[in-house]
Symmetry: C2
Subunit: 318 residues, 2 copies
Amino acid sequence: MSKAQRLDEREIGTKTRDLYPTRGTQEYLTERIDPVVYGDGEPKGEHSLTQEQLDFYEQNGFIVVPDVFSRAEVDTFIGEYRKLAASDKLQDREELVMEPASNRPRSIFSLHRFSELFARLARDRRILDKIVQILDSDVYIHHTRINIKRPLNGKSFPWHSDFETWHAEDGVPRCRILSAWIMLTENNQFNGPLFLIPGSHKYFVSCSGFTPENNHKYSLRKQEYGVPNMKTLEKLTAEGGMAAALGSPGTLILHEGNVMHGSADNISPVPRTNLFFVYNSVRNAPAEKPFAAPKFRPEFLASRDYSPLRPVEGTKGH
Amino acid sequence: MSKAQRLDEREIGTKTRDLYPTRGTQEYLTERIDPVVYGDGEPKGEHSLTQEQLDFYEQNGFIVVPDVFSRAEVDTFIGEYRKLAASDKLQDREELVMEPASNRPRSIFSLHRFSELFARLARDRRILDKIVQILDSDVYIHHTRINIKRPLNGKSFPWHSDFETWHAEDGVPRCRILSAWIMLTENNQFNGPLFLIPGSHKYFVSCSGFTPENNHKYSLRKQEYGVPNMKTLEKLTAEGGMAAALGSPGTLILHEGNVMHGSADNISPVPRTNLFFVYNSVRNAPAEKPFAAPKFRPEFLASRDYSPLRPVEGTKGH
């Protein structure tokens, strides 16, 4: 990244007012200021969304796209994360989060920094064509991770907007950021699938509660700040209902940064394993300091490398 | 109940061998010894199951019957349980189980002993005709309860067979016992519905672990004994898959005593509230002592009143 680009981003950060105040004394709902689909939404590449898919995403805040990756590719991804989890380079690092009760991985962060295959996958046109179509700019990786919700006792996660945390704790100024995630196992009604509130991304829930220092050390296990209350959830679900992201291995989900989501626990004997890539617009790099936290979260949760991603054709050759 | 009847039942208990040993040193699977549908299964009343419904129940271990109770009746049931929860007669009694974190009821046991309406509902022909058709004998109430799985943080419950507990801890000798339950709120994929493993009732999972004294004080909150392991669940689900009991208020579910079931937590803003009646055949009254516990559980969890129920026509007139 050039020095000029860094300065430009810092300037954006410094100048940006806090348009989404949160973590104050009380919870309230405001309307979203930012567009959901930036620019004209025209297809920018052969793997762009159709107009119908784009409209669905705009309206609901997510879209489930089946069969984007083949079973053979999914097997490769599973093999790669297992290799990573067992490799020396991740031992004793914060990026590797183990189950408290067993010696098995629950999450691995920064996959793209530890694996050539995942670095390439993060730039795969089947994902990136869609991201660029929605955000209408170059993008960089905010963070990547794999989440393994263990069979029988994989824990639930309360409702939250990712953007609320990324804004409060990482200083991401505007909602020009989204997640693309890939199912590596079936996500069904029994193994703790992601629930979403369609249309909730068009509101911003300003949550109450002052963010404690090093909140991420607790929030990765159980989020307590940035969780909306019953009244807010009743209002959001009264308007939008609830939806579950279900699908087979190889399904791609685009998931707007601000859509309200959570998940039940997994009591089934099948793990729920998903691969996450979070993309932020290079025009939306973080401000000089977080908007509602004492200090930035660590790099593996919110990258400070804003280099624009260059797309590649698939994961072959690895 | 006459003295003769009591003696007769005690005799049954004393003579009965332990045909379903459990809570030993290791877990294993055996085949069910007892029939699922007793007798000829012929309809015994106007509210009996159809042959098709009965076949489904026999094969899967449960059946969901929509629209058995009207919305108006459901509203009456909800009003009645709220009145009970607030009434003096239940305060400080074991039958009323409150949420640890709030002052709201989570379960009320022995509904039929505290409420005329629920006593009558337990004998409603719309339920009892089906029970008698399946068990081919007079029945008594093993226990009744209402379960309220709270919105946002209602807790999950691990897989188990009710019969395993009723046999181990209550001395119920044979699997001639079943639950009939009524949905008082919608049970949907988002509010922690009951998951079942179809066909699992045709096996008996002999679970490992010695039952501690007063186990019920803990097991009502979180069951730890009688919970099968991963290998068993994989085998059962490989054969039968998984099913969810979903439906609208007023839906009746018949649920064979030995079918393996559990439920995820409720992160939705809608409570999951269900009314349970457990019926045991009078020919299957408990043995002199439990088969795998130091002493019997209290009366409200396993009644010692084996009086046969006389059916009534509906809940009107209350």
